[in-house]
Amino acid sequence: MSLKITLPIRNTGPLIALLALVVFFSLTGSNFASIANLVAIIESSAVPCIAVVGLTFVIVQGSIDLSIEGLVSLACIITGLFVANSVNTHDSEGLALLLALGSGLVLGLFNGIVYAKAKVPSLIVTLGTWFAARGLATMLFPSMQPQIHDVAFLSIALNKHFGLSGIVYCAALIVLAGLVVERRTTIGRVSYGIGGDENLCRLGGLHVDRMKIAVFVFSGVLSAVCGVLLSAQLGVGSSQAGEGLLFPSISGAVIGGTLLSGGRGGILQSLTGVLILNVIQNGLLQIGVDPLITQVVEGATIIFAVIGGSWNLREKMRVAK
């Protein structure tokens, strides 16, 4: 029943677009459909998926969080510096996780408070935090890139269970948790309310500001998680790990049907979007187009994907910003 409530039956466009892409690539790409490749796609999608879960809540509320890249990089370099590594003598996963996730939490909290209390557009707040976090990450970077030696930690990415790395399972777990939050908790449901009509929610006596802060914290922490996992995946602490994660996440959400105007879409839609993007990238690799036109095809596909995705939403007098 709860499914029926929260899955908007109206907009299955993105899903169809995704399937279409998969079919297309399976037919054209020699071994796109091979298990190995699907695993590859899943592995590459895992981290963006985590990021987009947090982002979705923010977007559903009608705001935006640009600080992802910064937070990811920060968390990644922090992890690299505090687990056993090649540049210093630290060796404590606990401390590393604490500091990494802590950084995400603090900056997320900062985002939320400045946005909700000081009434600064989230776009600006998070833009600021983005650069600030990036600055911090560079400050933390030692003279050389820290190599992670902590085997136990690296095993998150390296040990395979049923062919999938721990990262994928983390992602799956987080997505499930996200879905539960989205559908069965006040934060999740009220986020939709806020996206729909904030004033009414206030009138209804809901703690709107708290909810706003909460989702930004959520997003911040999840970004940090991405950072930690990336450091495990790369085996190093990188202060640029986050680069190029923001736009895929946002576009994923948008393509999937989570409208930036808020109140629409949800985690599943966003995931669809992220998958669409990853499938395109991987698929183009598989059918082996000239690397120089990859971008062209990607761009074109995004356009058609969104058109196809919002096709059945079209109606006279509809407003799409």
Partner: protein, 335 residues
């Protein structure tokens, strides 16, 4: 349609209008100057630390550097006024540069209008798809962004092409009149045209109306499809002009020439006090925001900030500036 003789005279109405304006807007007055104030503070701080940065010479060179960014800012502020956004502007600037360098050998100076017109067409197409198929401008322009930068890479085989400086127009742009670089005049003209459009032409009114409440605007007979097409095409043409300036500076075109100007442009628009949600702001202020955005970055270098702290300062200053200056009353809900 007249019911009977007018009960109020023109002059009387005008006078009343003046009174109303004084009475009504006075309270908001300082808000309009807030972005300028921010800029002033920056200038003051930088000037205090390294006076050389405000010497005529450096201002000239700064204005040359800022000019293309300003064009991007001016262009981008229109879609944002509509409540949308155009992420493809920077890429459009790059590819226009490429077009120029490719067409220059045959067309000479005519390659520049060609580039601008082409950009206009692409922009129009983008606006059309966006409005006609009701796709969020964010998504569609994201696609265009990829498309354009891809094409740019492909046609140039990913190399920086020299622009043989036979292009008289570029030479003119590089020159200067009365000690002020030519490109500054170009920006000024574009700025003037756009502000006048917003204030005195149908288009301008319609942009604000759509940005405020599109549904109601359409119900008042506004053709939002047309408006969007025009707006996005103008935005792209501004971007193309920015590309021209970039080329004129470097005498090279590279598929990634202006790539990194996407964010600064948007930051500029916002620093100028234009609200992301649309309907509030204008190019008049955007230009100031653009200058601030450009100056902030250069300034932090000139005053000798350690590079590690530059990103930090950049972020913090933007945050503080906007927090201090945005007009919350007019924005209603802050998203």
């Amino acid at each position: 349609m007249r019911l009977n003789e007018l009960p109020i005279g023109k002059r009387e109405a005008a006078l009343q209008n003046r009174r109303d304006l004084k009475h009504g807007q006075g309270r908001l007055a300082w808000r309009r100057f807030a972005p300028a104030l921010v800029l002033a503070v920056m200038l003051a701080v930088v000037g205090a630390i390294s006076p050389g940065a405000l010497s005529a010479g450096s201002l000239v060179s700064f204005s040359i550097d800022a000019a293309p960014l300003l064009l991007l800012v001016l262009g981008s502020s229109l879609p944002i006024l509509l409540g949308g956004i155009d992420l493809s502007a920077a890429a459009m600037a790059s590819i226009s540069g490429v077009v120029i360098s490719l067409a220059a050998p045959q067309l000479g100076s005519w390659s520049i209008p060609l580039a601008v017109v082409l950009a206009g067409l692409v922009g129009a197409a983008q606006g059309y798809v966006h409005a006609k198929y009701q796709v969020p401008s964010f998504a569609i322009s994201l696609g265009t962004l990829g498309l354009l930068s891809g094409v740019a890479l492909f046609v140039t085989k990913a190399t920086a092409l020299p622009v043989d400086s036979g292009l008289r127009v570029l030479d003119v742009l590089n020159g200067s009149f009365f000690g002020i670089p030519a490109c500054v005049y170009l920006v000024a003209v574009v700025w003037l045209l756009l502000s006048l459009t917003l204030r005195y032409l149908r288009l301008g009114r319609h942009i604000y109306a759509i940005g405020t409440a599109e549904r109601a605007a359409r119900m008042s007979g506004i053709d939002s499809l047309k408006v969007r097409v025009i707006v996005f095409s103008i935005c792209s043409m501004c971007a193309a002009l920015a590309g021209v300036l970039y080329v004129s500076q470097t005498m090279f075109s590279s598929p990634t020439l202006a790539q990194t100007m996407l964010l600064p442009a948007i930051v500029g628009v916002v620093l100028g006090g234009t609200s992301i949600s649309g309907g509030i702001g204008g190019v008049g202020v955007s230009v100031i925001g653009g200058i601030s955005a450009a100056f902030l970055r250069v300034g932090s270098v000139v005053v000798g900030l350690p590079p590690t702290s530059q990103d930090l300062v950049y972020g913090v200053v933007i945050l503080v500036a906007v927090t201090a200056t945005i007009d919350r009353r007019k924005m209603g809900l802050v998203k």
